[in-house]
Amino acid sequence: MPFRLLRFALSGKYPEPRMFRDRNRLKSSYDAVIVGGGGHGLAAAYYLARDYGMTNVAVLEKSYIGGGNTGRNTTIIRSNYLTAEGVKFYDQSVRLWQDLSQDFDLNLFYSTRGHFTLAHTDSAVRTMRWRAEVNKHYGIHSELVDADGVKQACPQIDLSCGGHAPILAALYHAPGSIARHDAVAWGYGRGADQQGVEIHQQTEVLGITVKAGRVTGVETNRGEIATPRVLCAVAGFTPRILQMVGLRSPLSIHPLQAMVSEPMKPWLDPIIVSGSLHVYVSQTARGELVMGASLDPYELHSTRSTLEFAEGLASHLLDLFPFLSHVNVVRQWAGMTDMTPDFAPIMGKTSIDGFYLDAGWGTWGFKATPVCGKTMAYTVANDRNHELIQDFSLSRFANYRLVGEKGAASVGH
C-alpha cells in the first residue's frame, strides 16, 4: 500500500485511470441536458445512452458528482412499501440493483442483509401486517415475525428497549440491502461517459429558457446551451429550479442528518429500523455502524449538523443496544431532502414541454436510483411517462390524487 501511494506522489501524471473524462468545453447545444450529477441524473444519462442511443447529452453538476444526497445517504435498499404503486416501482429497482455490479464491472458492495422494521405498539403491528400482505400479494418476500424472531436474527437486541417501548413484533423483509453509495454515482457516470455522454462538474444551471411553453435552453455559469429537453434531478435544490420555469410544487426542504460510529468487528447482520424510537442502523463492510433518525422538524436549506440530533439518536440507539454505550461516533453530516406531503416522488412530464422532473425523493430515493434512471430515460426519449411512474406526476396534487405512502416511508427511508 505505501508503495502504491508513493506512485501518486512521484509520478507527474495521475497514475490511475480516471472514472470519466474531464470535459473542458461545453458545446453550444445538446439533445438533452440533465441538471444534477447525483445518482438519479447519472443513471438517467446512462440508460438514455444505452437503451435509447441518445448520446449527445450533458450532465451538469454544480459541485462534484455524487456530492449531494447520493453521497450522504445511509444506503438502505428495500421494497416493502404500502401502496401498490410504490411496491411495484421499488421492486423493479431492487431487481435492477442485483445485477448492477456486473453491469458496471465495479464492486458496489451490494449486500443483502434482511431488514426488520420493529413494532412497539399494537397499531404499528397492524400496519406491519398490512404491509406484509400488500408485499406478498406482489410476490415480495416480507412477513410479520414475533419478538423471538427478531431476537434470533439479532441476539444483541434488548427486546424491552429499556422497559419503556417493548418490541412486540417486526416486519421482516428479506431483500433489504445496503450498497456503497458513491460507487453508484461513479458506476453510472463512467458507464454514461464511455458511451459519449458529457459530464461537466463545477457547472451550475442558473436559468432555463422557456419559449411558448417549450424548453429551448439553459443558462449556466459557463455560458448558454441550446437544448429541447431538460431533466431536473437536483433533490433538495428542486424548488430553485422550478422557480426558474415558473412551476409551483408541494415540496418542502428539510435537512436529514446521519452519523457513523468507529469500526468494530462484525456483529450486526440485519438492518434494524424503529419508527417509534426514530432510529435505524446497519453495519457496513468496514465495520462502522451507520445510523440515522427522522427529519429535522422545520424547513431549512442547509447541511449543518446539530448536537440535539446526535444526542437523541444515541439515546434511542442505546434503548435497543445498551452495550454500545462506550462506542465513539466518528462522523456526523446532513443532506437537504425534498419532501412531498404523500411521501411519494414527483416524476415525469410537466406542463412545460421538454421539462421533465425527477424529484420529491426526500429521505428514500437512493434505493430508487436504478429504476428512476430507467423510467426517466424512457420518459425523456419518448416524451411519454413510463407506465411505472404515471401515478407520480406533479399534476396529481391539482387532481387530488395523492399516493399515501407515509406509513411505509417516514422513518424507514
Binding site: 424548488p239 410544487s249 415540496l251 426542504i253 422545520y298 436549506h301 442547509s302 396534487f397
Partner: protein, 83 residues
C-alpha cells in the same frame, strides 16, 4: 428562540407550523386554486414569516426567519396582519 411571552427558550420547545398565508375561501375559489393553496408551498430559500408555537405554554406567534441560515430576525405575537 425567543418566545414573545416566555423569552428565550430551547428551540426543542417550539414547533413550526409553516409560512403565514392568507386562507382562501374554499367556496369562492375553483378546485385548482384550492389545490394550489392546500398543497403547494414556496420552498425557495428566503426570509419568511412563519407560524411557530411554544408548546409548553401553547403560545402561538410569528417568527421572521432566514430559511437558508436559520437566523431568526424577530418574533412577535400575531397582530391580525395575515398577508
Amino acid at each position: 428562540m425567543v418566545c414573545p411571552v416566555n423569552g428565550a427558550r430551547p428551540v426543542s420547545e417550539f414547533v413550526c407550523w409553516g409560512e403565514v398565508r392568507l386562507m382562501l375561501d374554499p367556496n369562492a375559489v375553483n378546485d385548482a386554486t384550492w389545490a394550489d393553496y392546500v398543497f403547494n408551498r414556496n420552498s425557495v430559500p428566503d426570509i419568511k414569516r412563519e407560524w411557530w408555537c411554544h408548546t409548553p405554554s401553547n403560545t402561538w406567534f410569528i417568527a421572521e426567519r432566514n430559511t437558508q441560515t436559520d437566523e431568526i430576525l424577530q418574533t412577535y405575537l400575531y397582530n391580525g396582519d395575515a398577508a
